[in-house]
Amino acid sequence: MKNSKIFTENLYLHYGSKMALNNINLAIPEKKVTALIGPSGCGKSTYLRTLNRMNDLIDSVKIEGNISIDGINIYDKNIDVVNLRKKVGMVFQKSNPFAKSIFENVAYGPRINGISDKNQLTEIVEKALQNAAIWDEVKDRMNDSALGLSGGQQQRLCIARTLAVNPEIILMDEPASALDPISTSKIEELIVQLKENYTIVIVTHNMQQAARISDMTAFFYIGELIEYDKTKNIFTNPEKKQTEDYITGRFG
């Protein structure tokens, strides 16, 4: 594809002796939502975490193959992982705001990047909160603890926190799996809005969600990429039988 942001070539990943990803080849388009679906333990979250090298935190992980973002191999020796993660933000399954005030949560990213001017910080925080569609709900309680927010609000705060660092790619690991339907729909709306400016890769168990919000869908099964195509094709006319079985609910 021409406008691909992330290229994955012949990616193998092992946890100790156990193979978690087996020869993954995937090209993720820029400023689109790409959904990764598949049953639990199929390697989709593992794949997502290879994209900003979060798997480095686990001692036993061995990775072979290439992942390149904008043509640069992110597993090169000279890569600065800290700056890579600034470019590739991540939203986790469980909302994890820091035990700080709402303002400090969002301001944390810019602050560690060296921005200390109060006005500039306030501006960035406000913009990030507005982009994450949570500004109206928290603008009067910026100094309250972020832990006092509801689950959905916390998750949107985490998205705002990611946006404040101004990444190009946002990885989302089941961002709505622990939320109620109303919060989920808010997050989904947000994701659709965000794809105008960001490349989004989202892992989800909810196939309706994948169908609603994503442009491309990849189906993983036991560490292998079974099928990868436009979402419309996957959900209406899958090529492989395994994909069809999974999306129709016959297994998984």
């Binding site: 979060m54 800290v82 469980k94 820091f98 700080k100 005030s101 400090e104 944390y108 602050r111 560690i112």
Partner: protein, 471 residues
């Protein structure tokens, strides 16, 4: 509903019935025993504090017993003739033996002088006739004795004349001795001797006079508690707690400045940076230091640290607050480390991941995310460390120099509260004022530790957390 009813019929169930309450004795006793142990430990703490504080109470109250004194005073009058006989024999000998101790007598008579004043005040304030009686009884015998003595022994008339003249002038002794040393001191001595003899030889009066002395000492002690001198065994004892408190705080601050950063850094490294194998080595190793006998650390400080630090800093007193602080810091490090490490480890892993995913470096994550999140635990760790240092006796005794000074210089010797108890408990007279003051120090240590915990509970959990983590 019909289905529910059917199920409760015993016949159809598998023998388990729940329609009758069954007492489970094992549960019952386990609960009671655990509860008992918990309350017992609280009770023991309260009891210890109560006991310690009770021993310190006499400083604040005078403890003369009116009924006892009454009988004593009657004895005084009856036994005086016999005492006089004894006095006469030892009188001359006492003069010669006690002659060299001029200075001490001067001070003692000074002590006696306020005594009489106080009694006078007491009688003015509360008309306790019995107590007043003691005082007057005590003084008249002397005069009686003198009267008899003057009759018996003509040659010593001069002395007695001095004595009787001196009696009312007791307050002026200090001045007088300066003017005419020999005569006046002699007079003082004789006055003292008579007093001593009454105390020593008449058992009945001994009680009353001792009561007076302890009461007196207590009052003097209470007045000197706020002074800057800790001289409990001088003839004019001063029990100034300020230098002890100051010394303790000084050592505590020095040791915390040394131990807290080290221990917290070690905890951060172990909890966040170290890999699993490293962690398995570091953690038990540092924790083993906690089981180190403090006497060994004290000995090490006394022999090694003091010399090494002296060769580095070139201070004049080999044992001082700095050496003591470093040595106690060594004892406090494992305490702080263990609690801080636990606190850091219990911070959710998601915080760490979230921070890294935002592009923070490991150190930024450790300092700006993990450390604030672990603040309550870290604070508790530091407070525990302070508690350890505050109550540390052996190291303080061996390494701080034990001089009750109040300078700001960290290289000056200090005497801590705990070391004072440790050093002086063996030589103190049971029931003495000094003894009471030591117990007062004990209860001070108690109260301070209690206050520390209270601060931890209310300040940290209330305000500090809100400021760091938002409202």
């Amino acid at each position: 509903m019909s289905l529910f009813k059917k199920k409760t019929i015993p016949d159809q169930s598998n023998g388990i019935t729940f329609n009758k309450k069954k007492i489970r004795w094992d549960d019952f006793f386990a609960e009671k025993i655990i509860k008992g142990v918990a309350f017992l430990s609280i009770a023991i703490i309260v009891l210890i504090f109560f006991f310690v504080f009770r021993e310190a109470i006499p400083i604040f109250t005078s403890n003369t017993l009116p009924t006892k004194v009454k009988s004593d005073s009657s004895l005084v009058s009856t036994t005086t003739p016999a005492a006089n006989a004894n006095q006469q024999e030892t009188y001359g000998a006492d003069n010669t033996t006690t002659a060299p101790k001029q200075e001490t007598y001067g001070t003692v008579t000074k002590d006696n002088a306020p005594k009489q004043e106080q009694y006078g005040m007491q009688t003015n304030a509360e008309p306790k006739q019995e107590q007043y009686g003691v005082v007057t009884d005590d003084n008249p015998p002397k005069q009686e004795k003198k009267a008899t003595k003057t009759e018996d022994k003509a040659p010593k008339q001069e002395q007695y004349g001095v004595q009787t003249n001196d009696e009312p002038k007791q307050e002026q002794y200090g001045v007088q001795t300066n003017d005419e040393p020999k005569q006046e001191q002699y007079g003082v001595q004789t006055a003292e001797d008579t007093a001593n003899k009454i105390e020593n030889k008449e058992i009945a009066t001994e009680n009353t006079s001792e009561n007076k002395i302890t009461e007196d000492n207590n009052k003097n002690a209470l007045a000197t508690l706020k002074s800057r001198d800790w001289q409990p065994v001088s003839d004019n004892p001063r029990y100034g707690l300020l230098p002890l408190l100051f010394g303790t705080l000084k050592v505590t601050i020095i040791s915390m400045l040394f131990a807290a950063p080290l221990a917290i850094m070690a905890a951060i490294y172990t909890a966040i940076f170290a890999n699993k194998r490293m962690k398995e080595i570091i953690k038990p190793a540092i924790e083993m230091l906690a089981g180190f006998p403090s006497v060994v650390i004290g000995f090490f400080a006394l022999m090694v640290i003091a010399s090494v630090l002296q060769s580095v800093f070139h201070y004049s007193y080999r044992l001082n607050a700095f050496v003591g602080g470093i040595a106690m810091g060594l004892a406090a490090i494992p305490v702080i480390f263990t609690i801080a490490e636990d606190a850091l480890t219990s911070v959710p892993k998601t915080y760490y991941e979230a921070s890294l995913a935002l592009g923070a470096s490991k150190w930024q994550t450790a300092f700006f995310v993990m450390l604030p999140a672990a603040t309550p635990g870290i604070f508790a760790a530091i407070l525990l460390g302070i508690g350890r240092v505050f109550g540390e006796t052996m190291i303080a005794l061996m390494a701080t120099g034990n001089a009750a000074l109040m300078g700001l210089n960290p290289f000056e010797s200090v005497r801590t509260l705990a070391a004072t108890i440790g050093a002086e408990m063996a030589e103190v007279v049971f029931g003495d004022t000094h003894y009471n003051v030591l117990f007062l120090i004990g209860s001070m240590l108690f109260i301070f530790t209690f206050a520390l915990n209270a601060i931890a509970e209310f300040y940290v959990k209330g305000r500090l957390l809100k400021r760091i983590q938002g409202k």
